[in-house]
Each structure stands twice: as structure tokens, then as C-alpha cells.
Symmetry: C2
Subunit: 383 residues, 2 copies
């Protein structure tokens, strides 16, 4: 991978941090997980399990190494400090203050290795009034606004985004921060601290919800599967389920009307422009729904694809993993774990022209499995 | 910013590509938008508008430059090729094949500049059976599985994630790919092509939904605001709305039970472990709901925070932007645009110890506003 030669010391647990270091490992970095002796990354205990190994842990930690170190033990601290001194990047996702309490605030880390890029991923960041508060994905999904725009229109019950976007986007912004600091270091010779907060990242992905509020004073709410300002751009019930139709501009709307045998709709002044269609959303949805309900999903997808109208099914996870395009893109890969055996998981979505994208990857490490190799690289035989 | 000195030639429109180049611009790269003469980025026409300027466009393109070039005009093509020859990175999010049809497949771009990092962000990627299909965010949200796990339990109507995670995650993976290729180039002296597909990125963020399916054969469905395997980790109705409670482990559950005056629940064998609590979710939710319904949101948040239980409000966008922590983290910034005036928008969530995080940023460019400056850097006076 393009990051070959980059060594990442990884103190992270569960999701936001491990997701960041997974991306780095997939890109070729050597990631050395430093785990608590006897316990390891908390997510080793998260179900579902395959032969007593967490499928969740296995999928987030493939291709990483593991060494168990007790950061309250003097000999282990020496080893840790030697690892810090030789690493390019250190990533942690403790609550702010935790690593400092162990004796390793940024000033000490920087003194140990002035070239170190230190990335701290946390719920609320290392500054600000909520800094020390605990956070989980769901907390920042709620506080950051994404839940206020996700769900059915007018619904009372709150809706969470079904995957942990609070953690995952923080992991991805963390990667961007880390790599930009590595690039800068090649010029300056100096590392720096990268402070990424999950809540900040939620604000950063609010997208047009913020523009609508700041420009118009409108507080956006949930709209089911519909786009707030593009129409028709939503799901429709068909004879045997639902499909997505995304006619993002006037030309696509004309194609859509032709494909479903209702060219008259394209000529209707109520539907002549995207703004008119959005203003008259209810009337248009009624017209389109009446036609679309008359046939099944596969028929409509074929008809709309042939007409060049962006559309698609609403797949469940089984359908996603069985999709021939997903397979062709190598987005379901496999690892062969010594205990869990062959485990399938999501692949790496970054495809590079000069690097392979192997369909099998190294498995996640057993706790402390790489102790000897990690110590040997430090020139240490001991503990 | 850490990416000062990096020049990004930006052919992107609307969201996934512009989001990637926004992150690069925020990190200090010079981003030169190449736009269609007279029209520009399609999103210049997307509402809401402030003094006739798109607030959506303004928020996604702050700090970038603009030059209008017609890639079917010979003189403009010469300028474009000179820009390619001197850029570090080229980003586009056309449908695969479009740039090649204009005469610029990767082989030609690479010949013009062997050091070029070429990032193509598209719906389905540059390989695979669906490669040439049009896609929008909603299409990949549907096809990629995230909609199948988002929404209320048992609901018939599909639910979209309320922000365009299909575009945004592709933008973020694009940034990771671009920066890793820039790092590699410092070793190899060669650029490469980075191919990122929105659908692939949706698969990559499915997280535990894939582990549950591959390990257990369970096809995950939507669960409202509840986590599939951690309990209690969900929203609860209180006297005046809803709050999030995220007791992610046994110790936090004991704290929660104490804080709400029901220590007996922590002693109940049905709720003794996370697995037991998840298996008996309905019974536990009934007990907790009965207590939580007796007081309002602010009371409970104060009580739970004091007890150290991760919790939070479900904020709408107005509440997010008014939050003192969001302000303290500089996550709402301002640009001063010559026509639109002062516009507020989301800030940069990557906070770096050696770089400022200015509360005001350069505004988005008017179409072709930087033509003279861009040409002057090429040593060209002409068009």
C-alpha cells in the first residue's frame, strides 16, 4: 500500500479510533495495537462471535498487530515510550485527559518524539465546555442534529442512523488530519497534535440542513426518504416493495415521465422546474405513485435504467453482499483467522492504480500476538 | 494549513467531489475549480439563496478559486493541459467515461504529468458492471444497505439518512486516498489514479450490520433509535420530549439505575449483563421509560451527567448552531462574500496544534473570478 513504511501506534478501542487505523492499515501502514493485558480492545467482547472470537472486532482490526502493555507498569511504560519514540503516528480515542493522567500528555509525547503525529479522537474534543464528558455514537448523533433530519415526516419517535456515523465520520476526518500532518512533517520535520471530535464531525456533515437554516431560518425536520430540495428524489412503493427514483434535474424528469408513459406530467406547469416540483411535491408524488404501483421492482428498475433515469433497489445487507457489482469491486473480502477461520467483511473502498486490492487480507491479531516481533524491532528481547 | 503548497485542480460538481476538495482547502491546499463557462458548478443553481447566491454552493466551496474553461474549446484545452501539468492533484466526480470522452483518460493525464494524483469519485466506480450508471446519493443509500437498517422497527416506509452520507463518505474516503497517494509520491516520484465509488463507501460503513449477517446469517433491520447489540443505548421519551441514554457497559448501567432511583434494576438477573439486557430489551425499556417519563429533559440530562452516564439531547439544527460547545469548538464559521454578504456555515472538524482554525474563512468564488490570477501563475496573459 501507499503508506508502507509508516508506523502507527494504536491505543484505540471499539470504533472511531479503530476505524481510522483500519483505513491506514488497508493503505499499507503498519498498525501496532497497544492493548490492555488480559482484556484487550473492549470490542473483543462484543458479539456476534465466530468460534468465540468477535466478528465485530475481527472486521475492524484486520491487518493490525497487537502487543499487550500495562501503562501503569514501569517496564511496560519503557517499552511504550520506546514505541512512541520510533512511531510516525500515535492514535488514541480515550476520553480527553485519560492519556495525560497516565503521564502522557501531548507535551510529553512530543518530547519523546518531536516528529510524532498524535491524533486524539474523542466525543467532544480536547477543548470546550463538554470536553471531559463521555460520549458514544448515539449521543453525538442526537446532539449533532443528524437525528433531527432522519426519520419519517411528522414522526414522534426519534430515528438513529442505522450505522455508527458518529464514530465512522470521526475516524475518516481523523485519517485526513493524520495524513495531512504526515505530509506537512516532510516539510517541517515536526509532528503535531490532531484533535478530532465526534460532535464536530456531525456538524460538518449536516450539509444543506445548515444552509437551509442559516439562509432561510427554516429548522429542517425529517422527510422520510425524500430529498428536501430536489424532486422527485425519493422512494416509491411498487407492486412488490419499494424503489428509489432520483431525477435530479429537469432533463431526467422528462426522461422519467416518458419511461413511465406519462409524458404529460413533464408538460404540466406545476412540474416544469425543480422548484415547482418541490413546491407541488404531494401532487407529483400522487401521480407517480399511481403508475409505479402497477408493476414490480425488477420491471421498473429495468425500464428506468434503460431510460437513463437514476434509480435503484433498497437492498438489505444480504442483498448488498450478493450484488455482482459489489463483488466485482472487491468490496467483500475475507480473512483467515487462526481461531475464527474464514470471515467475510467489507473491503477497502480506496482503489489505487499502482497497488493491488487483495481479496484476502491478513486477519485481526489475537491479543498480544505480535509481542515478540514488536519487541524485536525495538531491539529488545525482554517484556 | 498543513497542505500549503499543494495545488488541486478541481473538476467536481455538487457534493461528493466538492466535499473532498473542501476538506483539502480547509487544510491549506490551493483548490482551483474548473467550471463550465456561463453555468459553473450545478449547485450554484441549488437553493436556498442569499442575495441570489446559493447558500449550498457557498458552504461547500469556501476558500476555493474558480476559472471557467470549456473543455471542447482548443484554447481552453491548452490552458487546462497547462494546469494539469503543474497541479499536484486532479479531482473529478463525473460519471466514469465522461472525462475520457473529453480526451482526458488517465493515460493522457498521466502523460501530461507523471506526478499527478488523479482522484475520480463516482457513483459506482471505474470498474464493474454498473460502472457507467448514473447515481445520486439516494441511489447508493438504497443500494448500499444503510436504508435497510435506518428507520423505525417494522416500518413499511423507507427512511433515508437525512444528510447525504453517500456523497460525504465518498468525499472523505477520496481525501484519504488522495493524501496517501501524495505521501507515496514523495517516495516514488509518481502519481496514481484513486478510484472511489459511492456505493463501495456505503458498504464500507455498514459496520456491525455485516458482522451480524456473516457471523449469524441474521439480516439486520431498522431498530428506531436503538443499538442492535448494546442495551440500554437508545432514546427515551421524557416529560417534554426525548433524550438519548447510552449506557455502553455494566458499570454505566449500574450508575444509570442509581441515578434514576432504581438500583433494584441493576440487581435484576434479567438485566445483569449487556447480553441479558439486550435479550430482555422490551422489559427493561418499559421499566426505564416509566421512570424517565416523570421528569423533563433538562432535569434528566443534569442528573445523568452528574452520575457520569453518557446521555444527551436530540437537537435540531437551530439548537446545534446555538450550542456553546459547538461555538467553543469553532464549528460554525463565517465567510464574507462580495454578493451574499456574511454567511454562516459548518467549520473544519480537524483541529491541529500547529495551525490556526480561523473563525472566518475566504468565501466561495464567483464563477471565473480567479481567471487572471490562475493564468498569471501559468505565465499566461491570454484566455
Amino acid at each position: 500500500g501507499p503508506l508502507a513504511g509508516l508506523t502507527v501506534l494504536d491505543l484505540t478501542r471499539v470504533l472511531a479510533g479503530p476505524y481510522a487505523t483500519l483505513v491506514l492499515a488497508d493503505l499499507g501502514a503498519r498498525v501496532v495495537k497497544v492493548e490492555t493485558p488480559g482484556i484487550g480492545d473492549d470490542s473483543r467482547a462484543f458479539g456476534p462471535f465466530v468460534n468465540d472470537r468477535s466478528a465485530y472486532f475481527l472486521s475492524l482490526n484486520r491487518g493490525k498487530e497487537s502487543i499487550a502493555l500495562n501503562l501503569k507498569d514501569d517496564a511496560h511504560r519503557q517499552t511504550f515510550e520506546a514505541l512512541v519514540a520510533t512511531a510516525d503516528v500515535l492514535v488514541e480515542n480515550y476520553r480527553p485527559g485519560t492519556l495525560a493522567k497516565l503521564g502522557y500528555p501531548w507535551e510529553i509525547l512530543e518530547a519523546l518524539n518531536p516528529r510524532l503525529v498524535y491524533a486524539a479522537i474523542s466525543g467532544f474534543g480536547h477543548t470546550g465546555p463538554y470536553s471531559r464528558r463521555p460520549a458514544y455514537d448515539l449521543v453525538v448523533q442526537g446532539m449533532g442534529g443528524i437525528m433531527s433530519v432522519t426519520g419519517q415526516e411528522g414522526a414522534d419517535a426519534p430515528t438513529r442512523v442505522g450505522t455508527s456515523v458518529g464514530d465512522i465520520t470521526a475516524g475518516l476526518f481523523g485519517v485526513a488530519g493524520i495524513l495531512s500532518a504526515v505530509i506537512e512533517r516532510q516539510r517541517s520535520g515536526k509532528g503535531m497534535m490532531v484533535d478530532v471530535a465526534m460532535l464536530d464531525c456531525q456538524v460538518a456533515i449536516l450539509e444543506n440542513a445548515i444552509a437551509r437554516y442559516t439562509a432561510q431560518g427554516e429548522v429542517p425536520g425529517p422527510l422520510g426518504a425524500r430529498h428536501p430540495s430536489i424532486t422527485p428524489f425519493e422512494s416509491f412503493a411498487v407492486a412488490d416493495g419499494h424503489i428509489i427514483v432520483a431525477a435530479g434535474n429537469d432533463a431526467l424528469f422528462v426522461k422519467l415521465c416518458g419511461a413511465i408513459g406519462r409524458p404529460d406530467l413533464a408538460a404540466d406547469p406545476r412540474f416544469a422546474t425543480n422548484t415547482a416540483r418541490t413546491d407541488n411535491h404531494g401532487a407529483l408524488a400522487a401521480e407517480l405513485s399511481a403508475v409505479l404501483a402497477t408493476r414490480g421492482r425488477d420491471d421498473w428498475l429495468r425500464i428506468l435504467e434503460d431510460a437513463g433515469v437514476p434509480c435503484g433497489p433498497i437492498n438489505n445487507v444480504a442483498q448488498v453482499l450478493a450484488d455482482p457489482h459489489v463483488a466485482a469491486r472487491n468490496m467483500v473480502i475475507e480473512t483467515d483467522h487462526p481461531v475464527a477461520g474464514r470471515v467475510r467483511m467489507a473491503g477497502n473502498p480506496i482503489k489505487l492504480s499502482r497497488y493491488d486490492d487483495p481479496p484476502t487480507r491478513d486477519p485481526a491479531p489475537e491479543l498480544d500476538a505480535d509481542r515478540a516481533a514488536v519487541l524485536a524491532r525495538l531491539g529488545k528481547g525482554g517484556d
